[in-house]
Symmetry: C2
Subunit: 200 residues, 2 copies
């Protein structure tokens, strides 16, 4: 089996949302699986010194326009959340709590959280909202609430974030294919070509 | 005639170089011309608070890798300049000095400067180098040297830069098509589709 593709994303990132709707199908056409790895861009930006896109003059306004345009182009459900940029800590924690034992459920949960946030415009920052979304998929409400406060889960997210930085991840979405890095939703076509050709 | 496409770029930007090799042909397939508008990202970054890509940890290393990959993909002549990021003031000034009366010559000069810098790795920062490149195209050496110090030319570049910021330009390359903005070399396919469909 060829190596899986690493897919790094922040639940607060709309470009990560758009990528999440395509990457597994794209990878499958090349016989690859995808490992989803939510990260916290806020922590990564402390390393890189970048500011959140939305807070950058001109670029922030462009981004809001651009994501609506991509949603229409890709026919993705889309509601710009009043809460953006959201706090994505709880969403990332519940994902890592679930993924080792139930990777497919974790991916479904991630898709559902992404849809709630960017598809429906819900604020995914509050732990209660994340618990509610998870419960809607049949997960145990009390277990999810406990996981969000579990020190092992907190440590896992921190370790994943640090490992991402060590691999050079500085944005969302970010893909690594056989050590080859691709940054951005708008590089999915290039990634597709890389997989098809074996690189150039 | 449909409106021309505005193509904003910094001579110091490798993604601008790659875009410069494609935009006129792309536009022509849709019956459009292109107005080239060199800008100085350094001045624009003072407005947006961004740092040059190369100076950002992780992102700078990614960029160096990425531009080599794009050069191979697009079969563009490419030599990473030791001088990057170069001072692109002289290159931008000579372009604006020439473009009103001789737009096609100015575009040829811009292509030649881009090739010298990103194709051959020459430092285009020194005024003498820009004069030499212009003279190689048959332009009068003394006239070019004088233009680089001309207050009207300096003012023109400053005004162009301010007008770019007023239109929301925050990076290179940046395209505006009928008021629709596109940022980045990797958005040329989307721009192509926008022109083909009339937008969505």
């Amino acid at each position: 089996m060829p190596e899986p593709i690493d897919f790094y994303f922040d639940f607060a990132s709309p470009y990560g949302y758009f990528a999440s709707r395509r990457i597994d199908e794209l990878a499958a056409t090349h016989g690859r699986t995808v490992i989803w790895r939510p990260v916290l861009l806020g922590a990564i930006f402390k390393v890189t010194g970048m500011k959140p896109n939305l807070e950058q003059p001109l670029r922030g306004e462009y981004l809001v326009h651009d994501v609506g345009r991509i949603a229409r182009l890709t026919k993705a459900p889309f509601t710009y959340p009043d809460s953006a940029p959201a706090n994505s800590v709880a969403a990332a924690r519940v994902f890592y709590w679930l993924t080792d034992e139930h990777p497919e459920q974790a991916k479904l949960l991630a898709r559902t959280i992404y849809h709630a946030h960017w598809g429906e415009g819900r604020d995914i920052g509050p732990a209660g909202t994340v618990v509610e979304i998870a419960a809607g998929l049949g997960l145990d409400r009390a277990a999810v609430a406990a996981a969000l406060q579990d020190q092992d889960v907190k440590d896992r997210l921190r370790a994943e974030n640090e490992a991402a930085v060590d691999r050079g991840v500085f944005g969302s979405p970010f893909f690594i294919v056989d050590d080859e890095p691709f940054w951005g939703w708008d590089r999915l076509d290039m990634l597709d070509r890389w997989l098809a050709t074996g690189g150039w």
